[in-house]
Every structure is written in structure tokens, then in C-alpha cells.
């Protein structure tokens, strides 16, 4: 008798019963239908409740069906998979909802006119006007903050990773950690107190300083991690060629990690671009176009959104402008992120 014949008669110990590939979708559809039924019969109006019931039914149903057909281990595996999916959907729903709402309400007044005109001669209650002054303010304040914060942050990280030993490095690390937790309003108050000492009026650069304070620890942290990822062998290879340490850092370590460092800097720019509190304190807001960040009040996108929304009682125009400015801000941050990804991919070691 051949061995193949024996194998055919014996049930395989390696292959058990398994659910067909479409079963998760079927269970999902079934639990959704059941949830809608329960929802309508029970008189639940909130769609969120329907969704949660469907998610619960889906997980229970998956476990029940799978445990019966495939066994308990596979059932647990499937439940873990469905939990991950449910968590993913729960995370995505608010995100999509936020983007959708902003786009829906923002496109109403968002056009070239809106992007190229200020609020100079438009009262907050009237329609018209735009965000040109706020875009100028945002770009200048965030740009100057980046010019201050990014180099200091990157250099600090280089010190910590490449040179820092002992007490000083520990102290720097500790204070960077503390700075990460500074609320933005406190950074604003810090600069404000300096301004009061020197009896200065609000101006854009003061906001930049506060934003730079907020940006620095984020840049230090991300750059530190990126520099630590550079293999020590590369540093040693360069040093063994008789290259001084500073050139090794400049020509070998930094180019190897430049993609990650840029991503970190851009993410921190995205973080400060949405800061309102310090800008409110230090830059004050200004409906007119002021292109000089070193003198006179300016506006900025988050501040504009806040002020328009605060004045929107009984005025649909201000309300619409707030949403349109929000859409612009989100688009700005998203373009920055895409740009960072592009740079990271372009500069990545091949």
C-alpha cells in the first residue's frame, strides 16, 4: 500500500475546518442590519449608538461563529483582528468627520478673493473680506519661529547625541522634557512679561519667540531619535579615515538622518502653526495688512478663526469666514506634511 493512500484515509491533522473568506463581511453586514433593526425598534435616534451596537454584535458574532466552526484559538484570533478593525474605525470616524465638516462649511466663502483680501474695511458682521493679512501674519510668525527654533533644536540634539556626557547633558535632557510640557499660554506669558518690562506694544516677532519656545523641545526630541538611529559603524568608518569629528557629523551623520530630521521639523511647524493663545497675547490681531513682523499688531490664521468665531453671534458671514480660514489652515498643515514626506523619501538612504 502506498503512503498516499494512507494519507487520504486519515483526516489531516494540519488542516482544520475554516470559514470562507467572505465570512467577515457577511458577519459585518448581518450585525449592521441587526443593529439597525434594534435601533429602530428600540427608538434609538443616535447613529453613534447604532454603530456601537453593530460593532459589539460584530465582535460577538465573529467569536460565536468562528468558535463553533474553527475552534477557540482561531476564534480568539478573529476577535483580536476585529477589535483592531473596530479601533481603527473609531479612530478614523472623528478624523474623517472633522475634515468633511471643515470642507463642507469652509468651501462656502473660500475663493481667490477670500485668499487675497484682508478684513481692513469690512466689519465682522458684514459678508466679504478675507484672510490675506492672516496668511501673511501666520507665514511670517511661523517662519521666524522656525528660523530660531529649528537650528537651536537640531544643534541641541547634536550636542546630546554626539558630545553630551555627564551632568550637563542630563540637565539639558531634563529641561527639554520639562519644556515639552509647557502649555502654550505660559510660553506666551513668559514673552509678555519681557515685553511689559521693556514697555513694548504687541508685534509679530514676539509671537515668533513664544512659538520658537514651543517648537524647540519637539525638534530636539525628534532629531535626537533620528541621530541615534544612525549606526555607530558609520561614525567609526569616517573617523578611521582620519576625518575630524565635526566633519563626520556634518558630512556623514547628518546626511544619513536628514530625512527624519526634516520630518520632525515640519511636524513641529505644523504644531505651532495652529497655536492661538500666545499669538492672542503677543500679536494681538489686526484686521489690516501688516507685513512687518517687527512692528505693530498682526493677525494669524488660528487667531483669525478664533476672533471671527467669537464675533459670529447673529452674523453668518463671520461664521463662514471662520470655517473657510480653518480649511485653509488644515490645507496648509497638510501641504507641509506632504512636503516633509516628499523630502524624507527623496533624501532617504538608498
Amino acid at each position: 500500500m502506498s503512503t498516499a493512500a494512507i494519507a487520504e484515509k486519515r483526516p489531516s491533522s494540519l488542516r482544520g475546518a475554516s470559514l470562507p473568506k467572505w465570512s467577515p463581511y457577511a458577519i459585518a453586514l448581518g450585525s449592521l442590519a441587526l443593529a439597525v433593526l434594534i435601533g429602530t425598534l428600540g427608538g434609538l435616534h443616535s447613529r453613534v449608538q447604532w454603530g456601537l451596537i453593530a460593532a459589539l454584535l460584530f465582535i460577538l458574532g465573529t467569536y460565536g461563529v468562528s468558535a463553533r466552526v474553527e475552534g477557540r484559538r482561531q476564534a480568539k484570533d478573529r476577535v483580536a483582528t476585529s477589535l483592531v478593525w473596530v479601533a481603527f474605525l473609531l479612530a478614523v470616524v472623528p478624523l474623517v468627520s472633522l475634515v468633511w465638516t471643515t470642507v463642507q462649511r469652509g468651501v462656502k466663502v473660500l475663493d481667490v478673493y477670500f485668499l487675497t483680501h484682508s478684513m481692513g474695511v469690512v466689519a465682522d458682521t458684514e459678508p466679504g473680506g478675507g484672510i490675506y493679512h492672516a496668511i501673511i501674519g501666520s507665514l511670517e510668525q511661523v517662519g521666524l519661529a522656525t528660523l530660531i527654533g529649528a537650528p537651536i533644536g537640531v544643534l541641541t540634539a547634536i550636542y546630546l547625541v554626539e558630545y553630551g556626557r555627564g551632568r550637563l547633558a542630563q540637565a539639558v535632557t531634563f529641561f527639554v522634557d520639562v519644556m515639552t510640557g509647557i502649555p502654550s499660554i505660559v510660553a506666551g506669558l513668559f514673552i509678555l512679561s519681557l515685553m511689559l518690562i521693556f514697555k513694548m506694544q504687541p508685534f509679530g516677532f514676539a509671537g515668533s519667540l513664544a512659538l520658537a519656545i514651543l517648537m524647540m523641545p519637539v525638534v530636539v526630541r525628534s532629531t535626537e531619535e533620528m541621530l541615534k538611529l544612525v549606526p555607530n559603524e558609520l561614525r567609526e568608518a569616517s573617523l578611521a579615515l582620519g576625518v575630524p569629528k565635526w566633519r563626520t557629523i556634518l558630512k556623514v551623520v547628518l546626511p544619513t538622518s536628514i530625512g527624519g530630521i526634516t520630518t520632525g521639523i515640519v511636524l513641529s511647524i505644523a504644531r505651532i502653526a495652529g497655536e492661538t493663545a500666545p499669538v492672542l497675547l503677543l500679536v494681538f490681531g489686526n484686521p489690516f495688512i501688516n507685513t512687518n513682523p517687527f512692528e505693530g499688531a498682526q493677525s494669524s490664521l488660528p487667531l483669525y478663526i478664533y476672533q471671527q468665531y467669537a464675533n459670529s453671534v447673529g452674523s453668518g458671514a463671520a461664521y463662514d469666514r471662520a470655517w473657510a480660514a480653518s480649511l485653509t489652515l488644515i490645507a496648509f498643515v497638510m501641504i507641509l506634511n506632504l512636503g516633509a514626506r516628499g523630502i524624507a523619501r527623496w533624501k532617504a538612504p538608498r
Binding site: R165, P231, E233, L234, R235, E236, A237, S238, L239, A240, L241, G242, V243, P244, R247, T248, K251, V252, P255, T256, P349, R350
Partner: protein, 258 residues
Amino acid sequence: MAKRIDVSGLTAYYGAHKAIEDISMTVEPRSVTAFIGPSGCGKSTFLRTLNRMHEVTPGGRVEGKVLLDSEDLYGAGVDPVAVRREVGMVFQRPNPFPTMSIFDNVAAGLRLNGGYKKSELADVVEKSLRGANLWNEVKDRLNKPGAGLSGGQQQRLCIARAIAVEPKVLLMDEPCSALDPISTLAIEDLMGKLKEQFTIVIVTHNMQQAARVSDRTAFFNLAGVGQPGRLIELDDTERIFSNPSVQATEDYISGRFG
């Protein structure tokens, strides 16, 4: 061009831990000297003291003298960067710079040290790649990234990079341990060629390799775990492998170690 190394009374530490103790030896110019010995006996540490790479490790420090043609590498006012230009190094794992092309990798030492004309650069790169037996394989793709080569080619690229700065001595820390036999053979052939110009010191765990490539062999050992490593004996390779004067050496190379 090649230089003699005279080591006397060298002791190296990692922080409070003594890694190697009281090593004295002479490395002859234009020859291959192999270091063999069990793991942790300080071969690599000793090798790294010969171009002051040991002190790159946090806590690493050295006592004693290393004379390179009668000039002490650890003398007052000696610049470690200048030492490393004289004494090049090839590492265990191939480590080409990932952001650079093959050409740039070889040119790296010259470029990063500055003071080179562009026209000379191409010649030096070609000469170094020929010296490392790699030119024919890469001459058509010099602008491709160095990390795209095979492991053996990468290691020869690293050798080309090391010899491009024209050192007097070339230190090799287990250069073949991550390579297949054919790449190993290529690198061993290369060592035979390079020793006409350079003083070569190689650390290896492969005793056949030591027997094949080296003119002189040094055996290192340690008395026990946590004890510093010591030089047991240094002699012509033939004598070490046929009739060593210390029993421990014979036990180690005949596999009766321990």
C-alpha cells in the same frame, strides 16, 4: 611607505575594566600580521588602540606606548585625527556610507579631509578601486549607491575607501567574518597584494585564514572571564602553526582549548 609599529607595555581600559594588559610587540612593515585568540581576549581592542579608535568608545583609555616608526601615537600633542590618516581601518561588517555613491564612498576620505583637486579625485578613485580588485565590477556604475553592492563587494569598497587616503598601516578587524568563501578568497588575495605597500594587521577567528594570509601570528588569551587579555606569543606563522613555544597556543590551534 609602510611603517613599523612598536608597542611596549600597552594596557587599555573601558572605564574601570581592564581589557588588555601589558602588551609589547613589534609589527613588521610590508607584512601581514594576524591576531588570533578566543572571543573577549582583547584582539579587537588592541587593534583599535593602534589607530586611537579605542578612545572613541566612551570610557576608553590607554596606557603605554605605540611607536609608529619611532613616533609615539600617544605622545603629548599628538592629534588622533592625524594618527588615523596614517593608520587606516577596515571593520568587521561592511559599512559603506549609505548616502553616497560608489565613487563618493571611495572619495570620501579625501573629500572630507579637503585639499584635493577634482581632476585628481577620479584618478585616486580608479587607482583605489583597482587596488581593491573592484574596478572591473563597478566601473560602469560608479554613480550607483554603494549600499547596493553585495556584501563582499561592499567590503572591498570599504578597503578601497581605506587605501584611498594612502595610509601607512591598514588594520582589519575580522574583515571576512560576514562574507562567503568566494568573497573571502577575493579579500585574502587582495591582502597578499596590499602587503607590498602597506603594513597589514588582521584580526581573525579563522585559523586557516591566519595560516594562509599572514607572515607572523600573535596569539592572545585571557586567564578567565573578566580578566584582562594578554599576548601569549608572537612568532612566524609557520612556527606558530607547526611548533609553537607555548603550550596554550598549541592547545588553541589544535582545538584542545579550555
